[in-house]
Symmetry: C2
Subunit: 150 residues, 2 copies
DNA sequence: ACAAAGTCCATCGGATCGATAGGTTTTCAA
DNA sequence: TTGAAAACCTATCGATCCGATGGACTTTGT
């Protein structure tokens, strides 16, 4: 199960991608997406630090995407918010950690099985982008973000 | 990330499958697998309640598999110990729950992407069994639990 | 100057995780 | 028949995480 926070982050990015307007305030975004405002602010700040989102302070300030929606992968957001995608620490590429009590990594049957899970999960999550998740299909076609939905 | 408890459960089952002897005490199993004994007892009790493992009480008591190792899937153990495999509650087959704040399930872009993750994760986990994870390959061949390792 | 908005940091209640502890019941063997 | 070994049951614990809230501060446009 992914965290609520990661869901919020993804939905916020999708909403930002759908907005034509230059920027949206956290308050507006919170209301339209039904996300607790202060919590959303934290999330957006993280996304900003990652360089995914841009902010402008002061009155008329707000947030906007800093990169094209079809270059922001689910995998990147998930790793940022929830940590490694791999189901075992010893299978993470981005945050490898040896399993404390494991005798031999190469002989570990549990690891062998979960390696397959990790591979396929990564394939999906590093392949899917915010653009793939936009709610209005006509938007996708109009903007040529995806060729067509398979 | 799967829980430590699920890892213990899988390792315990693998160890039980590898044992030729009729039954093993929790204490022995705990020592050989380096799992906290009392914690392991809880796990084995759960596995027993599920009908995966058998127990005999009293002196000379212990645990043994109640079904062939190649019929015990990773998916089953994971669901028992860690809960649903699906990354979103609204994608779980075994424990479906609507996402509280979701407007429309069918229009949810996040859901669409994670549906693919769920499908592939299930394919792997419901396909892999304890027999697939046994450490000693010769055991597998000898007992014809798998034809050969791909 | 003031209001609106982002930023920073602390805290909080509740849940979960990993484990430990102690007592009870069953069983076997001496 | 009694004592040890083992499963079984329930409670509790400390640490961490999760989801969220609050307040103080800074920046910015009008």
């Amino acid at each position: 199960m992914i965290s609520q926070k990661a869901k919020y982050a993804l939905r916020a990015l999708i909403a930002l991608a759908e907005m034509k307007t230059a920027s949206v305030s956290a308050a507006e975004l919170a209301q339209s997406e039904r996300i607790p405002r202060k919590f959303l602010e934290q999330i957006l700040t993280e996304l900003k630090r990652e360089g995914i989102v841009q902010s402008r302070r002061g009155a008329t300030g707000g947030y906007s995407l800093l990169m094209p929606a079809d270059t922001i992968t689910f995998g990147r957001i998930l790793r940022l918010i929830d940590g490694p995608i791999a189901p075992l620490p010893c299978l993470s590429r981005t945050a490898y950690r040896r399993c404390e009590d494991c005798r031999s990594e190469s002989a570990c049957g549990v690891r062998r099985v979960f390696a397959d899970v990790a591979i396929s999960a990564r394939a999906v999550l590093d392949g899917a982008t915010i653009a793939d998740a936009l709610t209005d299909p006509s938007f996708l076609v109009q903007n040529r973000l995806i060729p067509e939905r398979a």
